[in-house]
């Protein structure tokens, strides 16, 4: 809360979505479940929530979480309590690009706070908000584990290091251009790496 990210858990408001993984994704979920002992399938919860977030609209809707609960044979509440604990699960709609700016000590002493202020002004949104075009969500986060390259931000899978205003300007305009060019989905890291 203290970082100014909007945390408004609307856990009881369903969005009226029909959610279902593709057969391909279901096969991936099955493979992930197989890593853990039988009866311990709940272990797959964190990885499967990452997949659900990526495949089912960029955030975890109630429907998506209930669906995951069914896949792993756990109670929905077990999914909710995990989804609300970890900062990387988004419970509300986010933009195509989620910009997460590190605010912790080593980044802050090298200008991380000014970087976040600059992005608020540049994108004309408050921390936690999303631009009107749905492209960018701005979040302040704690240590990203890249302190030697401060100030640092992460946009989806990518780290951006030694940030300056000029670098940010370029990054934002590059990403905007890229989004305009390909209206297709963002590169799927789950598919690539899992």
């Amino acid at each position: 809360m203290s970082l100014g990210n909007k945390i408004d858990h609307k856990l009881y408001e369903k969005e009226g979505l029909e959610v279902r993984f593709s057969d391909e994704t279901l096969a991936r979920v099955k493979a992930i479940k197989a890593r853990y002992p039988k009866e311990r399938e709940k272990s797959a919860l964190l990885p499967v929530l990452h997949i659900a977030q990526e495949e089912l609209g960029g955030h975890l809707s109630i429907e998506a979480m209930d669906y995951v609960a069914g896949l792993l044979n756990v109670q929905p509440i077990e999914v909710y309590e995990v989804a609300t604990f970890y900062t990387q699960y988004y419970l509300e709609k986010v933009g195509k690009y989620v910009i997460e700016v590190c605010q912790t000590g080593p980044c802050a002493m090298c200008g991380g706070e000014d970087i976040a202020d600059y992005l608020e002004r540049k994108l004309n949104i408050k921390t936690g908000g999303t631009t009107n075009d749905g492209l960018f969500t701005l979040r302040k986060v704690e240590c990203l584990g890249a302190c030697g390259y401060a100030p640092v931000m992460q946009i989806n899978t990518e780290f951006y290091e030694f940030l300056t205003k000029e670098k940010i300007d370029k990054t934002i305009s590059d990403l905007t251009a890229k989004a305009n060019e390909e209206k297709s989905k963002d590169s799927k890291w789950v598919e690539k790496f899992f």
Binding site: S2, L3, R35, P37, R40, K42, S43, A44, L45, L46, P47, L49, H50, L72, V74, E78, E81, V82, F85, Y86, T87, Q88, Y89, Q103, T104, G105, P106, A108, M109, C110, E113, V141, E142, C143, L144, G145, A146, C147, G148, Y149, A150, Q154, T157, F159, W189, K192, F193, F194
Partner: protein, 451 residues
């Protein structure tokens, strides 16, 4: 003092691939261990090496392994802690980026020693690229017969899986990590029982840091006794130090334990001195949790002897005048850094990352954050300094896991060594409220100018 045994091959192009790594002597230790040594002999070498946990606690690794409940009929697990999230620490990420196979190699050796046939690498969720790198390395190792069933024709079988976290500092604590691996919130467990007896799925489990497990490779290659000759005293071997803050050359350096802090800080081979020709003000030598040291206690101890990069030397003087090697997150502050602001920042971090299980930590970190913010923004009261010191002391030692201690120490040490800065903030609210970072001199100058 420049010997490298973990990062000795980082300059070789393509070393992140199996082929190049293997061509340069990689996986030789696995052949040696699996074909010529018993699991107990591997553990013995690790004991002889004096290797200590590189994640921060510095607990002897061989001893930790020997606690594993071998009488249990349950499967045993090795879990690699790659949830690197201690502010100031980014060494494991670097190691995985550059030489992922040394970790896989170390995991095979350690799993063999412990009798584990399934091993998990728990990687923090932000490190998506590193998850990809590790999965690729695992596939390569499997394709080349170093993972899977009957490795190198022996009876030993091993599978390694990468498990992704999702953003929670607390999951670096070993029992919180196990909870998270079981698909739950990262709430640390009460100990005992320790993971060695009841860990993952209530089975005997060892949790070790990335760097610790990678260090098993040179230990087996050269033998524990040879490894123990590197370093100084009970700080054997090399250590990866991730240096950041106001220095000329931030980055990850492998040092032999016993290197002087002065050389590490000022030599062009390492940090290269303070950036922008400024003066050194303070140092947090082992990640945000360890006590901060003022400039006169960094290169010299209180007894006026040189300070070295080792577990013992960095903690010499106790918390009165020393600190800790911790995870090797070396954060350097120049003369313009504001210690009050930084302490507030760290407490905000701990408040954010507290799992909320224990009241002293859940409530205490929140109060520390609030009161420190009040001081930093010019609304502090004279009694606030003693207040934060006392709140911190009431958290320390009163929580299930060490996050409480980690939150307390930065406050106690900042008040101990930089009380004058807190006092100045409280006495001159009109000056400090508009300045985020600045030395006392800078503040005083602003004060004089305003008059």
């Amino acid at each position: 003092m420049g010997r490298k045994i973990l990062l000795d091959k980082v300059h070789i192009p393509g070393i992140e691939t199996f082929k190049v790594y293997r061509d340069n002597g990689g996986y030789a230790s696995v052949e040696k261990a699996l074909k010529k040594m018993t699991p107990a002999e591997v553990t013995d070498e690790v004991k002889k090496s004096g290797l200590r946990g590189r994640g921060g606690a510095g607990f002897p690794t061989g001893m930790k392994w020997s606690f594993l409940d071998t009488k249990s009929n349950n499967p045993r697990y090795l879990v690699c802690n790659a949830d690197e999230s201690e502010p100031g620490t980014f060494k494991d990420r670097y190691l995985i980026d550059k030489v992922p196979h040394i970790l896989i190699e170390g995991l095979i050796l350690s799993s063999y020693a412990l009798g584990a046939n399934t091993t998990f690498i728990y990687v923090r969720g932000e490190f998506k690229t590193q998850i990809g790198i590790l999965n690729k390395a695992i596939r390569e190792a499997r394709d080349n017969g170093f993972l899977g069933k009957n490795i190198l024709g022996t009876s030993f079988s091993l599978d390694i899986y990468v498990h992704s976290g999702a953003g929670a500092y607390i999951c670096g604590e070993e029992t919180a990590l196990l909870e998270s691996l079981e698909g739950k919130r990262g709430n640390p467990r009460l100990k005992p029982p320790f993971p060695a007896v009841k860990g993952l799925y209530d089975c005997p489990t060892v949790v070790n840091n990335v760097e610790t497990l990678a260090a098993v490779v040179p230990i087996i290659n050269m033998g524990g006794e040879e490894y123990a000759k590197i370093g100084v005293g009970r700080s054997t071997g090399t250590k990866l130090i991730s240096a950041c803050g106001h220095i000329n050359r931030p980055g990850v350096y492998e040092i032999e334990m016993g290197l002087s802090v002065e050389e590490f800080l000022y030599s062009q081979e390492y940090c290269g001195g303070i950036a922008n020709d400024k003066k050194l003000k303070a140092l947090v030598p082992g990640g945000s949790s360890v006590p901060i040291l003022p400039s006169h206690l960094i290169t010299m101890t209180a007894n006026k002897t040189p300070r070295f990069m080792s577990y013992e030397s960095l903690s010499e003087g106790g918390f009165e005048s020393g600190s800790m090697l911790g995870s090797g997150g070396f954060i350097v502050f120049d003369e313009d850094a504001c210690i009050v602001r930084n302490t507030w920042n760290f407490e905000r971090f701990y408040h954010h990352e507290s799992c909320g299980q224990c009241s002293p930590c859940r409530e205490g970190t929140g109060w520390l954050e609030k009161v420190l913010h009040r001081i930093e923004t010019g609304a502090g009261r004279a009694k606030d300094i003693d207040l934060i010191d006392s709140v911190a002391k009431k958290i320390e030692g009163n929580t299930i896991c060490p996050l409480g201690d980690a939150a307390a120490w930065p406050v106690n040490s900042a008040v101990r060594h930089f009380r004058h800065e807190f006092e100045f903030h409280i006495e001159h609210p009109e000056i400090v409220k508009n300045i985020k970072h600045g030395s006392l001199e800078k503040y005083k100058q602003a004060f004089a100018d305003a008059r």
